[in-house]
Symmetry: C2
Subunit: 225 residues, 2 copies
């Protein structure tokens, strides 16, 4: 019989998923810092996950870790919970988009399938959360993401903001204030080759804004066709 997927394991799987999305295998150190846990603790858990029945990860010493199909399903379940919860907190309880992360991080581990289903239905089965992140479907498939970093745009390009993959509440509040939120159209007025700064015209805003790469790498857009 499959061993229990504890809250702690859910957190490991979720972060491995996110690290796998970007670079290839997730490293011990990256996981440790994301989970706020000592690297040695990560090694121990990875060994356990790799030896569980069925295995949730594929792990080779010193070479990082990847999710198995089973591990990915478990990860997507947690991510679906998280993103539905963020949406629910904003839509139903009036949270702002910079407040929802912590709350969802705790709730994601304890809600039932029943809760998930009712919440999704109450929200009209949304496909994106308040930050524009894609919500895995009920049968645990992650929709394809067509967006690219805002940082990759150049002068005169026009695009629609799709997601803001930032955690920092202060940054989120700032971006909200200057109108940099999902589904808003922007046009690049200038690109600085020295620092990568972009000058943007934001739909619905009076004056242009300048954003550095630390920010534009966290904002994802779809270019005008």
């Amino acid at each position: 019989m499959p061993e229990a997927i504890t809250q702690s394991i859910q957190d490991y799987l979720k972060h491995i998923y996110e690290l796998n999305e970007h670079g290839g295998a997730a490293s011990t150190n990256d996981l440790a810092s994301r989970l706020s846990v000592a690297p040695a603790s990560v090694t121990g858990m990875l060994q356990k996950l790799a030896n569980s029945q069925p295995p949730l990860v594929i792990y080779k010493k010193h070479q990082g870790v990847r999710l198995t199909k089973n591990g990915e399903k478990a990860a997507l379940e947690v991510i679906r919970h998280h993103r539905l919860l963020e949406t629910f907190l904003v839509k139903t309880l009036g949270y702002s988009w910079d407040e929802v992360h912590c709350e969802a991080d705790k709730l994601e581990h304890v809600i039932s399938e029943n809760f998930e289903t009712r919440m999704a239905a109450a929200l009209g089965n949304p496909t994106r959360d308040p930050h524009g992140e894609l919500i895995p479907t009920a049968d645990l498939v992650m929709p394809a993401d067509e967006s690219c970093p805002l940082a990759s745009l150049r002068a005169d390009e026009t695009a629609t903001i799709r997601r803001v993959s930032a955690d920092d509440p202060a940054l989120l509040r700032h971006l909200h204030k200057i109108g940099v939120v999902p589904e808003v159209k922007i046009t690049v007025k200038n690109y600085s080759e020295f620092d990568g700064n972009l000058t943007l015209q934001v739909e619905g805003q009076k004056s242009n804004i300048v954003l550095g790469t630390a920010v534009t790498n966290q904002v994802f857009v779809e270019k005008e066709n």
Copy 2:
């Protein structure tokens, strides 16, 4: 500094509170069966709670346990969470009153003060949950309960149902079906001295019903003045 109040401790305090409400001190065995834990485990936890700084319970060997002021506040916090959550699940997500208990038992430990406040506001600061249980106030005071067991009524007495303190989902579904829910008026048509059965006329229902003491002891009413 006060030690952390873990989920496990919250569960102990909640059940000690409920046992203190009825009989005096809560016994080791009663706690063990409510918590689904071995009696020896309860003894260990009670010693810990009594020695914590500040103490959360007063405990003397073989004589059961009572909450201190601090312990009571912590218990009421959890109970407030639980009852607000039950109300929220019914009102906002369309749960039926027999489904909410398990879900609330998990969520009660993880929601923030922010969540509690927003939820209470969204519900209009309710004073009772879907079963009619009183909800502790935001400053953690339990309102006085004026009700008495339905089982204590006799023929010709009329009363209003205030709460249904039952856990069993099947019983709850049955009571809902026959209209035995909070705020409904009932009249006792007959009392049987042999088995304690009550024959009731239930407001809004066509035919009378007969309920045994196993049920009437779990339903609480306020008599007509």
